[in-house]
Protein backbone atom coordinates (compact mmCIF):
# COMPACT_ATOMS: atom_id res chain seq x y z
CA UNK A 1 0.00 0.00 0.00
CA UNK A 2 1.31 3.46 -0.89
CA UNK A 3 2.19 5.75 1.96
CA UNK A 4 -0.20 8.70 2.24
CA UNK A 5 1.43 11.81 0.91
CA UNK A 6 0.80 14.67 3.33
CA UNK A 7 0.62 17.22 0.55
CA UNK A 8 -1.71 15.28 -1.70
CA UNK A 9 -5.47 15.08 -1.65
CA UNK A 10 -6.62 11.71 -0.29
CA UNK A 11 -10.25 10.64 -0.54
CA UNK A 12 -11.72 9.55 2.83
CA UNK A 13 -12.03 5.86 3.49
CA UNK A 14 -15.37 4.35 4.48
CA UNK A 15 -14.57 4.35 8.18
CA UNK A 16 -13.02 7.82 8.12
CA UNK A 17 -16.18 9.13 6.54
CA UNK A 18 -18.29 7.37 9.15
CA UNK A 19 -16.19 8.89 11.94
CA UNK A 20 -16.53 12.41 10.56
CA UNK A 21 -20.27 11.97 10.09
CA UNK A 22 -20.83 10.65 13.59
CA UNK A 23 -18.66 13.36 15.15
CA UNK A 24 -20.45 16.14 13.30
CA UNK A 25 -23.85 14.76 14.25
CA UNK A 26 -22.89 14.50 17.94
CA UNK A 27 -21.77 18.12 17.91
CA UNK A 28 -24.76 19.33 15.89
CA UNK A 29 -27.18 17.63 18.30
CA UNK A 30 -25.41 19.17 21.28
CA UNK A 31 -24.34 15.86 22.84
CA UNK A 32 -20.64 16.73 22.74
CA UNK A 33 -18.59 19.78 21.95
CA UNK A 34 -15.62 19.89 19.60
CA UNK A 35 -13.46 20.91 22.54
CA UNK A 36 -14.51 17.81 24.52
CA UNK A 37 -13.66 15.56 21.60
CA UNK A 38 -10.29 17.24 21.07
CA UNK A 39 -9.45 16.89 24.76
CA UNK A 40 -10.41 13.22 24.85
CA UNK A 41 -8.20 12.50 21.83
CA UNK A 42 -5.35 14.39 23.49
CA UNK A 43 -5.79 12.45 26.76
CA UNK A 44 -5.99 9.17 24.90
CA UNK A 45 -2.74 9.89 23.06
CA UNK A 46 -1.15 10.98 26.33
CA UNK A 47 -1.61 7.59 27.97
CA UNK A 48 1.42 5.43 27.41
CA UNK A 49 2.75 2.12 28.77
CA UNK A 50 4.82 4.16 31.23
CA UNK A 51 1.72 4.29 33.40
CA UNK A 52 1.58 0.51 33.56
CA UNK A 53 5.35 0.35 34.15
CA UNK A 54 4.97 2.54 37.25
CA UNK A 55 2.41 0.12 38.65
CA UNK A 56 4.66 -2.87 37.99
CA UNK A 57 7.74 -1.22 39.51
CA UNK A 58 5.80 -0.33 42.65
CA UNK A 59 4.57 -3.92 42.97
CA UNK A 60 8.17 -5.13 42.66
CA UNK A 61 9.35 -2.91 45.49
CA UNK A 62 6.37 -2.94 47.86
CA UNK A 63 4.93 -6.38 48.74
CA UNK A 64 1.89 -4.88 50.46
CA UNK A 65 1.07 -2.84 47.39
CA UNK A 66 1.48 -5.98 45.29
CA UNK A 67 -1.05 -7.81 47.46
CA UNK A 68 -3.55 -5.01 47.04
CA UNK A 69 -2.86 -4.84 43.31
CA UNK A 70 -3.57 -8.54 42.82
CA UNK A 71 -6.70 -8.29 44.97
CA UNK A 72 -8.29 -5.07 43.72
CA UNK A 73 -6.30 -3.76 40.77
CA UNK A 74 -8.20 -0.56 40.12
CA UNK A 75 -8.03 0.71 43.70
CA UNK A 76 -4.30 0.03 43.85
CA UNK A 77 -3.73 2.08 40.69
CA UNK A 78 -5.63 4.97 42.21
CA UNK A 79 -3.19 4.89 45.14
CA UNK A 80 -0.47 5.84 42.66
CA UNK A 81 -2.51 8.82 41.57
CA UNK A 82 -3.37 7.16 38.28
CA UNK A 83 -6.72 8.27 37.04
CA UNK A 84 -8.36 5.13 35.64
CA UNK A 85 -12.07 5.90 35.21
CA UNK A 86 -14.24 2.91 34.42
CA UNK A 87 -11.34 0.47 34.49
CA UNK A 88 -12.06 -2.88 36.15
CA UNK A 89 -8.57 -4.21 36.39
CA UNK A 90 -7.42 -7.75 37.05
CA UNK A 91 -3.66 -8.08 37.49
CA UNK A 92 -2.20 -11.54 36.89
CA UNK A 93 1.21 -12.42 38.24
CA UNK A 94 3.92 -14.29 36.38
CA UNK A 95 5.92 -16.77 38.45
CA UNK A 96 8.45 -19.46 37.55
CA UNK A 97 5.43 -21.81 37.38
CA UNK A 98 2.94 -19.63 35.49
CA UNK A 99 3.27 -17.45 32.41
CA UNK A 100 0.24 -15.22 31.71
CA UNK A 101 -0.69 -13.66 28.40
CA UNK A 102 -3.62 -11.44 27.40
CA UNK A 103 -5.80 -11.53 24.32
CA UNK A 104 -9.31 -10.49 23.37
CA UNK A 105 -10.67 -12.97 20.84
CA UNK A 106 -13.96 -11.12 20.32
CA UNK A 107 -12.63 -7.64 19.62
CA UNK A 108 -9.62 -5.84 21.07
CA UNK A 109 -10.29 -5.16 24.79
CA UNK A 110 -7.09 -3.78 26.26
CA UNK A 111 -6.17 -1.87 29.46
CA UNK A 112 -5.86 1.43 27.60
CA UNK A 113 -5.89 3.40 30.84
CA UNK A 114 -2.53 1.82 31.70
CA UNK A 115 -0.99 0.89 28.36
CA UNK A 116 -2.38 3.48 25.96
CA UNK A 117 -3.47 2.57 22.46
CA UNK A 118 -2.99 -1.13 21.60
CA UNK A 119 -0.46 -2.19 18.97
CA UNK A 120 -1.91 -3.18 15.59
CA UNK A 121 -0.94 -6.83 15.98
CA UNK A 122 -3.03 -7.06 19.16
CA UNK A 123 -6.11 -6.31 17.07
CA UNK A 124 -5.14 -8.60 14.19
CA UNK A 125 -7.23 -11.64 13.40
CA UNK A 126 -4.13 -13.84 13.49
CA UNK A 127 -3.16 -12.87 17.05
CA UNK A 128 -6.71 -13.06 18.34
CA UNK A 129 -7.47 -16.46 16.88
CA UNK A 130 -4.09 -18.11 17.37
CA UNK A 131 -3.19 -16.97 20.90
CA UNK A 132 -5.96 -19.05 22.47
CA UNK A 133 -5.32 -22.00 20.15
CA UNK A 134 -1.53 -22.37 20.11
CA UNK A 135 -0.11 -19.90 22.64
CA UNK A 136 3.32 -21.46 22.94
CA UNK A 137 3.84 -21.29 19.20
CA UNK A 138 2.70 -17.66 19.02
CA UNK A 139 4.91 -16.70 21.97
CA UNK A 140 7.84 -18.36 20.20
CA UNK A 141 7.16 -16.14 17.20
CA UNK A 142 7.45 -13.17 19.55
CA UNK A 143 10.83 -14.57 20.61
CA UNK A 144 9.66 -15.95 23.93
CA UNK A 145 10.24 -19.59 24.80
CA UNK A 146 8.17 -20.51 27.86
CA UNK A 147 9.86 -23.07 30.06
CA UNK A 148 8.49 -26.62 29.76
CA UNK A 149 8.00 -26.63 33.51
CA UNK A 150 5.70 -23.62 33.46
CA UNK A 151 2.00 -23.42 32.73
CA UNK A 152 0.83 -21.02 30.02
CA UNK A 153 -2.30 -19.23 31.18
CA UNK A 154 -4.12 -17.35 28.42
CA UNK A 155 -6.62 -14.69 29.48
CA UNK A 156 -9.35 -14.01 26.97
CA UNK A 157 -10.89 -10.68 28.02
CA UNK A 158 -14.35 -11.22 26.65
CA UNK A 159 -16.43 -9.01 28.90
CA UNK A 160 -16.12 -6.28 31.52
CA UNK A 161 -12.67 -6.81 33.06
CA UNK A 162 -9.33 -5.65 31.70
CA UNK A 163 -6.08 -7.52 32.30
CA UNK A 164 -2.50 -6.58 33.02
CA UNK A 165 0.38 -9.00 33.42
CA UNK A 166 2.69 -8.43 36.37
CA UNK A 167 5.96 -9.77 34.95
CA UNK A 168 8.75 -11.25 37.06
CA UNK A 169 11.36 -8.83 38.32
CA UNK A 170 14.61 -9.37 36.40
CA UNK A 171 17.58 -10.79 38.30
CA UNK A 172 20.41 -8.43 39.09
CA UNK A 173 18.17 -5.49 40.02
CA UNK A 174 18.51 -5.72 43.81
CA UNK A 175 18.40 -2.34 45.46
CA UNK A 176 17.23 -0.54 42.30
CA UNK A 177 14.93 2.45 42.65
CA UNK A 178 11.34 2.24 41.50
CA UNK A 179 12.08 4.64 38.66
CA UNK A 180 15.02 2.66 37.40
CA UNK A 181 13.02 -0.57 37.61
CA UNK A 182 10.16 1.00 35.65
CA UNK A 183 12.56 1.65 32.77
CA UNK A 184 12.90 -2.13 32.30
CA UNK A 185 9.14 -2.73 32.02
CA UNK A 186 7.98 -2.82 28.42
CA UNK A 187 4.48 -2.72 26.99
CA UNK A 188 4.82 -6.23 25.58
CA UNK A 189 5.92 -7.63 28.94
CA UNK A 190 2.66 -6.33 30.45
CA UNK A 191 0.63 -8.01 27.66
CA UNK A 192 2.63 -11.17 28.30
CA UNK A 193 4.21 -11.72 24.88
CA UNK A 194 7.62 -10.81 26.26
CA UNK A 195 9.53 -10.32 29.50
CA UNK A 196 11.08 -7.13 30.94
CA UNK A 197 14.46 -5.95 29.74
CA UNK A 198 17.51 -7.33 31.55
CA UNK A 199 19.58 -4.84 33.54
CA UNK A 200 22.44 -5.07 31.06
CA UNK A 201 20.35 -4.41 27.94
CA UNK A 202 20.76 -1.12 26.16
CA UNK A 203 17.55 0.83 25.69
Amino acid sequence: MAKPDAGKYQPLSYFQLMEVTLRELLVEKGLLTEEQIRKEVEDMRGRTPERGARVVARAWTDPHFKQRLLKTGTKACEELGLDVPGLKLVVVENTPQVHNVIVCTLCSCYPRMLLGIPPDWYKSRAYRSRMVREPRQVLREFGLEVDEGAQVRVHDSTADMRYLVLPMRPAGTEGWSEEKLASLVTRDSMIGVSVPKSPGTRA
Binding site: L106, R133, E134, Q151, V152, V154, T158, A159, D160
Partner: protein, 94 residues
Protein backbone atom coordinates in the same frame (compact mmCIF):
# COMPACT_ATOMS: atom_id res chain seq x y z
CA UNK B 1 -29.23 -11.34 41.10
CA UNK B 2 -27.80 -14.09 43.32
CA UNK B 3 -24.56 -15.76 42.27
CA UNK B 4 -25.43 -19.34 41.46
CA UNK B 5 -21.85 -20.59 41.50
CA UNK B 6 -18.88 -20.30 43.84
CA UNK B 7 -15.15 -20.25 43.21
CA UNK B 8 -14.02 -23.83 42.57
CA UNK B 9 -17.36 -25.03 41.15
CA UNK B 10 -17.31 -27.06 37.96
CA UNK B 11 -19.44 -25.43 35.28
CA UNK B 12 -20.39 -26.16 31.72
CA UNK B 13 -20.89 -23.48 29.10
CA UNK B 14 -24.24 -23.81 27.37
CA UNK B 15 -23.97 -24.94 23.78
CA UNK B 16 -26.35 -22.59 22.05
CA UNK B 17 -26.15 -20.31 19.05
CA UNK B 18 -28.63 -17.48 19.54
CA UNK B 19 -28.43 -14.50 17.19
CA UNK B 20 -27.27 -11.06 18.30
CA UNK B 21 -24.38 -9.58 20.25
CA UNK B 22 -22.99 -12.48 22.33
CA UNK B 23 -19.86 -12.24 24.43
CA UNK B 24 -19.42 -15.99 24.90
CA UNK B 25 -16.88 -17.04 22.25
CA UNK B 26 -17.90 -19.91 19.96
CA UNK B 27 -14.87 -21.99 20.83
CA UNK B 28 -15.86 -22.29 24.49
CA UNK B 29 -19.52 -23.23 24.08
CA UNK B 30 -20.21 -26.74 25.38
CA UNK B 31 -16.88 -26.88 27.29
CA UNK B 32 -16.46 -27.60 31.00
CA UNK B 33 -14.24 -25.62 33.36
CA UNK B 34 -13.86 -24.40 36.94
CA UNK B 35 -14.91 -21.03 38.39
CA UNK B 36 -11.70 -19.12 39.16
CA UNK B 37 -13.38 -16.03 40.62
CA UNK B 38 -16.61 -14.06 40.70
CA UNK B 39 -16.02 -10.72 38.99
CA UNK B 40 -19.19 -8.99 40.20
CA UNK B 41 -22.48 -8.31 38.45
CA UNK B 42 -22.79 -6.38 35.19
CA UNK B 43 -25.65 -5.34 32.91
CA UNK B 44 -26.25 -8.06 30.34
CA UNK B 45 -24.40 -7.00 27.15
CA UNK B 46 -26.82 -8.95 24.96
CA UNK B 47 -29.60 -6.67 26.22
CA UNK B 48 -27.47 -3.51 26.13
CA UNK B 49 -26.78 -4.17 22.46
CA UNK B 50 -30.54 -4.01 21.85
CA UNK B 51 -30.73 -0.60 23.56
CA UNK B 52 -32.33 -2.08 26.68
CA UNK B 53 -31.03 -1.53 30.22
CA UNK B 54 -29.56 -5.01 30.71
CA UNK B 55 -31.03 -5.28 34.21
CA UNK B 56 -31.05 -7.18 36.48
CA UNK B 57 -27.26 -7.26 36.31
CA UNK B 58 -25.84 -10.69 35.55
CA UNK B 59 -23.16 -12.24 37.77
CA UNK B 60 -19.95 -12.55 35.75
CA UNK B 61 -17.48 -15.37 36.34
CA UNK B 62 -13.95 -16.00 35.38
CA UNK B 63 -13.83 -19.64 34.31
CA UNK B 64 -10.63 -21.65 33.86
CA UNK B 65 -10.52 -24.35 31.19
CA UNK B 66 -7.81 -26.90 30.47
CA UNK B 67 -6.56 -26.27 26.96
CA UNK B 68 -6.73 -30.01 26.26
CA UNK B 69 -10.46 -29.91 27.06
CA UNK B 70 -10.98 -26.98 24.70
CA UNK B 71 -8.88 -28.16 21.76
CA UNK B 72 -8.65 -31.95 21.46
CA UNK B 73 -5.51 -31.59 19.34
CA UNK B 74 -3.83 -29.00 21.59
CA UNK B 75 -0.08 -29.21 21.15
CA UNK B 76 1.13 -27.46 24.32
CA UNK B 77 1.52 -28.93 27.79
CA UNK B 78 -1.20 -30.71 29.77
CA UNK B 79 -1.17 -28.00 32.42
CA UNK B 80 -1.86 -25.09 30.04
CA UNK B 81 -5.15 -23.26 30.61
CA UNK B 82 -7.32 -20.52 29.17
CA UNK B 83 -9.46 -18.24 31.34
CA UNK B 84 -12.57 -16.54 30.05
CA UNK B 85 -15.24 -14.24 31.48
CA UNK B 86 -18.67 -15.79 31.17
CA UNK B 87 -22.05 -14.46 32.34
CA UNK B 88 -24.16 -16.62 34.61
CA UNK B 89 -26.95 -17.28 32.13
CA UNK B 90 -24.43 -19.07 29.91
CA UNK B 91 -23.39 -21.52 32.63
CA UNK B 92 -24.88 -24.69 34.08
CA UNK B 93 -23.56 -26.98 36.83
CA UNK B 94 -21.23 -29.73 35.58
Amino acid sequence: MQSRFQTGDRVKVIKAYPPGHIRTPFYIRGRTGVVERICGAFPNPEELAQMRDGLPAQPLYRVRFRQKDVWPDYRGLDGDVVEIEIYQHWLEPA
